[in-house]
Symmetry: C2
Subunit: 129 residues, 2 copies
């Protein structure tokens, strides 16, 4: 696949695709004799993984590390697993933060909705923010 096709498939810019490859977030992509990128099935798998991880805010540095480990063969399996476990822990923490924020948002929206009907903002104690 050409870079244009991949960028359409995953809805990512060509610049981002080249950037990810350049910094080693995905392994080097195959080239045609003339130097054009020719994405394989496996390249696409990496792109998809990168997109998924980045969409959840997993830092680029961790993904570069993971990609590097992968290219060192099966002896890095434990290291890779540990890296992923660590990122999972951080992700879970972020999700908890977001859940708290969601609750706060729901609470405030509820107060505002009531106020639209009654004309009165019924905040709890000193919570007039």
């Amino acid at each position: 696949m050409t870079i244009t096709e991949v960028s359409k498939k995953y809805n990512m810019t060509q610049d981002t695709l080249r950037y990810y490859e350049r910094i080693g977030l995905i392994p080097a992509v195959n080239r045609t004799k003339s130097g054009m990128r020719d994405y394989t099935e496996e390249s696409c798998g990496w792109i998809e993984l990168a997109k998924c991880m980045r969409s959840a805010g997993i830092p680029i540095e961790a993904l570069i590390e993971y990609c590097a480990l992968t290219q060192q063969g099966d002896r890095t399996i434990t290291a890779r697993k540990e890296l992923l476990v660590e990122e999972r822990t951080k992700l879970l923490q972020k999700m908890e933060e977001m859940k708290k924020t969601l609750d706060k948002l729901n609470y405030k929206i509820d107060i505002y909705e009531k106020a639209e009907v009654t004309g009165v903002l019924s905040w709890e104690k000193s919570d007039r923010t």
Copy 2:
């Protein structure tokens, strides 16, 4: 409360506290006659809200807007509610993305754990990333 006390209470740097006030993410804080910040209960409420919202990645711009609306009185109640609803929608979307990523992470960690025992990476089809 002094800025040092507030920064300890919320575990935020004084620089961040001043920064938030400077950009209007929280309303202007009271001052002593000599110009030192003197945080009230309500100021603290704003700090807490800012910290909570930012920890979930709500953009600073939206929070500045919300703060500005709040200072324009009750006639902005609907606008404030709509702003919060919009941010809630985005937050929910992010949480879904994260859930997908979490599933992927769990799947991969599982494969790596099995590989540590069996010595074989049992990826599905072309999913060797």
